[in-house]
Amino acid sequence: MSLTKQSQLFYPAIWFVIVAIVSLFLVANRTQLKVETNILKLLPKSEADPMLDVAFEQYASKNMRQLVILLESDRPEEGINAAKNLVSELTNSIHIEDIKTQVSAKRQQAIGEFLFKYKHSLLSQSDRLLLSQKNYDEFNAENLEIIFSPLAGGLTSLITSDPFLLSYRFSQSLDSTSDFVLKEGFLSTQVNNKNYILIVASLATSPFSQKTQSDLTALLSELSSQWQQQQAPVRMLTTGAMFYAAEAYRTAEHEISTIGLTSLLLVILLILVSFRSLTPLLLTSIALASGIGAGLSIILFIFEEIHLITLVFGASLIGVAVDYAFHYFVISKSLQARQRVRKIFPAISLGLLSSVVGYLSLLTTPFPGLNQMALFCIVGLLVAYLTVILLFPIFSLKADASGWLLTLCRNRLAKIAQVPAFAIWCFLWLLPVVAIAIVLGQTVSQDNIRQFQTTSTKLQQDEAQIKSVLELEASNQFFLVHAKTSEQLLIQLEKIQPALENLVNQGVIDGFENLSQRLPSEVQQQSNYRLISDLYQSQAKQTLLEFGVITQQQYTMALQEFDQDVGVRLKPEEWLNSEMGSPFKSLWLGQIAKAHVAIVPIIGINDLAALSDINSNVRFVDKVGKVTEVFSQYRVQTTKLLLVALLLITLMLSVRYGLLKAITIVSAPLFSISVTVIALFFLGVNLTLFNTLALFLIIGIGIDYGLFFAESSRLSERTFLAITLSALTTIFSFGLLALSKTVAIQAFGLTMLIGIASSYILSPIIGSLVLKHSGK
């Protein structure tokens, strides 16, 4: 019949067109194939507050580009030599934009000159207090100590135009409270008889760029091992987002080459042993490759990049996709290719539909990561399915499953036929009850975004040691301050200073960085000017005259200079572009959505729970905490969606099979996920979002197993073999992820392992019941 002939060409042609489009797209975009490893990209946008998102993005991207390097040595000399060496190497690297370690004499001078210009408007907090209390004696005494110190150095030349050392006093108040001092221009400190030199570099490129990661980690580890071999060794401690990202990437790469390769070999071996032919292996590979290729394309097309987690989770659709292929191969020995397709069509179509229904619910969540994963799976499954029904029939299939395997399956089924399936089934309904009790009873939530991080002890030790030497800004928690104008913003910042100091005094935090201490508001500057004016008019000058620090004539001239400065005020723009303000640019976010916004970073959080918004204009931002909270919400929501998906699938199947049979089919995945929840509970593994996601896949796979039996005419050993092969493949592919070092992936793998194993064990029992309901 000509129609058949046409369709024989037509169907594969459709497949070829799809695969050609996918391939062309992938080839055209191969340079853009970027695997995103940034955890924060998984987060939903907080639509309610765009300012918060922009602010966080700006701050985090700046913060994540920082490399913090601490050099530890017994004597300062070796440390300084190593630091010089490191700085020159980093300066030559194209990946480094800026190194913030050496404060050059030129820069110090520029800061000094800048402050000198605005000396009559700037006062430190403690000096404001002294002057407002008119405690001029104390003020003078402090100055005399400085002037008569044997090492007073360059200060004395300032006295004639700044007799009260105002610019010097202000500059001294600015240095952070850390114990770092300048040694040959390097920030150095001593802790427990060890010398430390701090070097902070910022990356020119993204910390998630693999080129940046590999170049810089190679450079640093080479230097580090050189210094270790020196007679007086220098230890390099590092921390920063790039090091963690590099570590995550290395781990993933390592796991793909170990876990991934092992799975692949096991699956190939399984197919070869089962069919003793290359055709099934080849066809299965084509089905999986086109599925994954299509999934990848759609993600790149819509999201422009794929997240590592999507790739790992998404690739698990292999577990479902192989079902279709195996079912095709083992359905019957004698059938023609087209007949095979016709025979398995209802089962695999319903299987596909069920999985898609399951994944669709994930598409409704606001997590870009979950959306990517769901879309990847839906498209990937669809294309794998199309490969089976469109492409497979053009190959003649001579291979059949090994006879001994079929005998094994037949014997197993014969044994199962003797068990009281219905009684067991009724009894199994206890499982969901127990599982629901566990889920409802679980109070401790572990939905932490840090589960995406690997647990590298070296990095954690380094970070802990760095934190013991210096105070690092928390990168995910800060105060966000906003106001209508930049002046109001500075006033707001000044207002919260006492509240922030209070937090330090209470031990909630170790410190903070408030811009208003460096850049006072105009109102404050005017008040400073008045306080200084009082000082000039007071008797304070007598002490200076008495000790010969200044003559009356010089004092009069200084006073004239002061009078001329009446309108000289330091403006934010000028400050930001000066040597003094430029290091703090990242804290001044400028205008976002009609508001002027600044950040107050927090140093060392000791009691996270005690931190909250200071007022409606000063918000406490905690992205990690927020994510943990959102993850928990979505875990709860996903658990509910799981039940919704089961319900929808039951309704859909009851159209074809009637309610009782549909419930029986759906009971298989329901029992499996219940067993999984119970098993995880006894293994002490907390239910997280990632486990819950794996449960979705278990539903898709469990349904397939039930459907294959429902669509076969009897409790067929061939169907059972197809299920056995699918289950083993899935376990080889994803159960092995339980060995991963990334907590999230490990949880996913373990869940898959238990879920698939229980689905498989349950499948013949459910299958025999389904067939009984059909009266077969």
Binding site: S149, P150, S157, S178
Partner: protein, 197 residues
């Protein structure tokens, strides 16, 4: 001055040095190390910008553990302790000043330390040293060859016999500081040792 008299002068200086073969930097270091510094001082600082000379007084002491304590008494008390490569300062109420607020750059502190202990070996790394002796006293002139130091200091001058009697330093910007020492019989340790803890 004629050519000849210049030659005579140069050779006189040459012979003068020859005749005091005992007068070398090493022997001075040796002598200074025998008696630890234990003196009161008067400092006068002449600053071009100011009309008056800034005068201060105090005491200076090098401990057995080789920590240098420099205390100003007048016009206002302040104390500085220089340990190897490290500097600690106290205000007039004997409260320790946060290191970041301390006035002195640590490089200068190391220099003071080398001077007080007569460590010319360390100083010669950063300075060109010229030594002149007569029968009883010696004078050392130090001129920086280290670029970082030459940004601040033009020259240093030390005089002494068995001990250092005075030193002065001329800063790049013209400040001239003269420190005269009077060696004391009574040890300062009873007063100053408490700053070392």
């Amino acid at each position: 001055m004629s050519k000849y008299s210049l030659i005579i002068l140069v050779s006189a200086l040459f012979f003068a040095n020859q005749s005091f073969a005992q007068c070398t930097l090493d022997t001075i270091t040796q002598r200074l190390s025998e008696t630890k510094l234990n003196a009161s001082f008067v400092q006068s600082k002449k600053i071009p910008a100011l009309e008056n000379v800034l005068k201060s007084e105090g005491s200076i002491w090098l401990s057995e553990r080789a920590d240098l304590v420099w205390q100003v008494d007048k016009p206002i008390k302040s104390t500085m302790v220089i340990k190897q490569g490290d500097i600690i300062q106290f205000n007039r109420k004997d409260q320790r000043i946060d290191s970041h607020k301390a006035v002195a750059p640590t490089g200068l502190a190391g220099l003071f330390y080398s001077i007080a202990s007569g460590d010319f070996a360390a100083l010669s790394e950063q300075f060109e040293i010229e030594l002149q002796c007569n029968q009883l006293t010696w004078e050392v002139l130090l001129q920086p060859k280290d670029q970082q130091i030459s940004q601040f200091i033009k020259e240093l001058r030390l005089t002494g016999d068995e001990q250092i009697n005075s030193f002065s330093y001329l800063e790049k910007r013209g400040d001239n500081t003269q420190v005269e020492l009077t060696h004391l019989k009574t040890p300062l340790s009873s007063e100053l040792a408490r700053y070392l803890d």
